[in-house]
Amino acid sequence: MTPRETPLPMTVLSGFLGSGKTTLVNYLLRHNEGQKILVLVNDFGALPIDEDLIESQDGEILSLANGCACCSMGGDLFEAFDAALKFEPAPDQLLIEASGVAEPRRIANFARAEPDLQLNGIVTIVDAANMEDGLQDPRLLDVMKEQISSAHILLLNKCDLVSQVQKNRARNKLKDLNDEVKPIDINHGRVPPDIIFGKGKAADMTAIETKSQHNHGDIFDHWALKSQKLFEKHALWETVSSLPSTVLRFKGIFRSPDATTAWSIHKVGAHVDIARIEEPSFAEPYSEFVAIGLKEDKISEVLEAAFQKDQ
């Protein structure tokens, strides 16, 4: 086994059959922004990749022209993660498309435990139109609840197909099951890759800009801060942990007051990670952070205030 130089960020995409996972996966593969995404499908259906994206097929592995790849996980998680970590060329992002009955927390646990993986978050996609039907089947109720309650990012899909009343009902139901995460309304599985993957690798934050995110960026707002300040780890953890759920993702790198150690910080949903950067690639003792949220929630104001108050 050869350890990776930097941990592979892993995102678990969960959601029921028909909730739009497949459409979302295809959308992300089309908008990979130069990242090599490896998709592992934890289901036994056919690999759900749009025909025109596929460049070649080698046994169980589909290769895409843009450097991404997709393969089936079979039934064995051990084998699947072992294969993903050996995969050549090494991917930049690992996206697990969990089966409709999978408990995403169990899959996410692999990334929490394995040093060569880093949990980028659990994304759960819910069908606004028939979410309530799903919550009727007593055999599946607990699975569905688990998928929603363990999510760091909740996507309410097919919002164009439902009335405002239906949408509100779905939102209330989601809030009952998970009030730490603010659901994002989407249509046709279209969501900026930034939301799903965060921005690049945690330790590689040298090129932060708030350029407009294609054309799906309208409803999202970016915030960035670059500062010569040093941050005390625990204080920063407190600040970031108490950010409201309208901040969908927050990440950054910072130097602690002794100025010798550098850290990365990453928040998605209510989940905050702080990890030491062994060999920081940035020489200057500065810190920088980015966040993404919904425009309507004015996250910039919230963040400015948080960083003014505490630091």
């Binding site: 079979g74 039934g75 998680l77 435990a113």
Partner: protein, 543 residues
């Protein structure tokens, strides 16, 4: 014409009601020509009389209906179980009866390893965890620098030393489910479930699936079977890629390979249509000693791991319900497609909710297309109630009950997982008999040791590790249990016309026993000694 051999035995238990006992069996071309007295056989002409079994008991070769090829390969690790075991090469491993003995065994093994090898042990029994739990400090005393991993008998837990923890960076409380934390606030070495075990297994090269694939492992598996009188065994989940099928075909076709091996395709590793097509294709690769074409569908998890799908009122200790591996709706589709195509299904169902989902799926499939030629089997089927057995009867569905569980996990089920009411009706062999459900009993080796006579003992006595009797009513008689491990299992594998009883035309496959299971006290059934086996008339004395 090839010759005829007659084995003379002290007694032959035939499982053929027309002639329950015999003293002689005649064999020609690897098949049973006749059974009876010497005079009754004389009419078949000249024969060689073989008297090597004249003081032994012959039975139909035992049939293990649910185990895994890994049961052979696992022996490359050091055994630290509570029960005495014999490895494939005949080495006797006395059970270790205390934590001290476990550590002693580990020290002995450690001393024999090369400088770079990790120490991996298996079979650690939960009985050791009653007083206090094994932790990293215990294992650090065995070695502070060599990585050590002790895999528990259920394969869902392991305990490792500090050197292993360090390899995976498990040095502080990282808030990860499954990494147990000790009183000092750091990981204490106990790791629960695959996610927490994966980083260690990956770094120590412990790959359980590979354990079942290698040539030596398949050969060792044959030896494991031979020691306990098994001549037909079903490997109950396999991805069966072409290269593995070729290897299995080559190994099993050797005259020295002592068993008929069945291997069931993992139905959830590819789309439904591919599963169907592959299963039908594999059936064409079957030989006399390698049978393919059946599939395995895993619906839920395990009761002891709290991952089985159970109905109201749920777990006795309030733990949340378990996991589905397949949506009930998808199961309905899969089962219908495979049933229509004529593919036999072995459906893993531990909890009663999973059993219900599987029976519903089979009902839908059979209402459309009954296919009486197929026998589908609920594997484990541990929590089935009597209504579910009645439904199995109506649908013509078989059960393979996990009798060994009564002994190994029965106490835990009674006290913790499902409580007394449901624990006392687990693995309900008598109910299967009551409602005429074709059934067998199994070991799921290496989860519990393969030994059909021990499995039969479990079904007869229903005794747990602590000595509690788990449900008097569901006990069956010795004869019923012997039928379950021969003809019953053969029926669930759709091989009852070929093996499972001593009858004219069937394969001359026998278990050769030193003691008479019908004469020994039922509580001693597990102590019947096995001499070895006969496969297609060839003797395989256990070395």
């Amino acid at each position: 014409m090839s010759g005829t051999t007659v084995f003379k035995a002290k007694k032959i238990i035939t499982m053929n009601p027309v002639q329950p006992e015999a003293t002689h069996v005649a064999i020609r071309d690897g098949r049973i020509l006749a059974a009876g007295t010497e005079q009754e056989l004389a009419g078949w002409g000249d024969h060689n009389l073989d008297t090597s079994f004249e003081d032994k008991i012959l039975m139909p070769g035992f049939v293990e209906g649910h185990c895994h090829l890994m049961a052979g390969g696992i022996w490359q690790f050091t055994y630290v179980g509570y029960q005495d075991r014999i490895d494939p090469d005949g080495k006797h491993w006395p059970g270790v009866k205390s934590l001290e003995e476990v550590l002693e065994r580990l020290k002995e093994a450690e001393a024999k390893l090369g400088p770079e090898e990790p120490l991996v042990a298996w079979g650690f029994d939960p009985i050791f965890l009653m007083a206090r739990r094994l932790d990293k400090n215990d294992l650090d005393a065995v070695s502070s620098d060599r990585p050590i991993a002790v895999v528990h008998s259920n394969f869902h837990l392991m305990t490792v030393n500090s050197a292993s923890l360090k390899l995976a960076n498990y040095v502080a409380d990282m808030g990860v489910d499954g990494i147990a934390i000790g009183e000092d606030g750091t990981p204490n070495g106990e790791l629960q479930e695959m996610a927490a075990m994966f980083p260690i297994m990956r770094r120590l090269g412990i790959n359980l699936r590979e354990l079942g694939r290698s040539r030596s492992s398949i050969i060792d598996f044959g030896k494991v079977c031979n020691r306990v009188g098994v001549t037909t065994a079903a490997d109950l989940i396999n991805d069966l890629p072409d290269e593995d099928v070729a290897e299995m075909t080559s190994i099993t076709s050797e005259d020295s390979y002592p068993i008929r091996l069945l291997s069931m395709l993992n139905a959830l590793a590819q789309p439904v249509d591919e599963t169907r097509d592959r299963a039908l294709e594999l059936a064409h690769h079957s030989t006399d000693k390698l049978r393919l074409g059946g599939v395995k569908i895993v619906t839920d998890g395990s009761i002891q791991g709290f991952t089985a799908r159970i109905r109201w009122p749920g777990h006795f200790n309030g733990a949340p319900n378990g996991i589905w591996n397949i949506l009930p709706d998808q199961l309905n589709e899969l089962v219908s497609v495979l049933n229509d195509a004529g593919v036999q299904m072995h459906i893993h169902t531990n909890g009663d909710e999973a059993i219900e989902a599987a029976l519903d799926a089979l009902e839908i499939a059979k209402a459309k297309n009954n296919r009486p030629d197929l026998r589908h089997v609920l594997q484990h089927c541990q929590m089935a109630d009597r209504a579910q057995f009645r439904k199995m009867n109506r649908l013509g569905v078989c059960a393979n009950l996990f009798a060994n569980h009564l002994y190994y996990f029965g106490d835990k089920h009674y006290e913790l997982t499902i409580g007394p009411d449901r624990a006392t009706r687990m693995d309900a062999c008598q109910s299967a008999l009551d409602f005429g459900v074709t059934f067998t009993i199994h070991s799921d080796a290496p989860v519990t040791p393969m030994a059909p006579l021990f499995t039969a003992w479990c079904a007869v006595n229903r005794q747990t590790e602590s000595g509690r009797v788990l449900g008097e009513y569901e006990k069956i008689t010795v004869d019923e249990a012997l039928e379950a491990i021969t003809l019953g299992a053969a029926s669930t594998l759709q091989m009852d016309h070929e093996v499972g009883s001593v009858e004219v035309g069937k394969w001359a496959d026998f278990a050769v026993l030193e003691d008479d299971p019908q004469k020994i006290a039922p509580e001693s059934l597990k102590d019947v000694k096995v001499w070895g086996t006969v496969l297609a008339g060839e003797k395989f004395q256990t070395p």
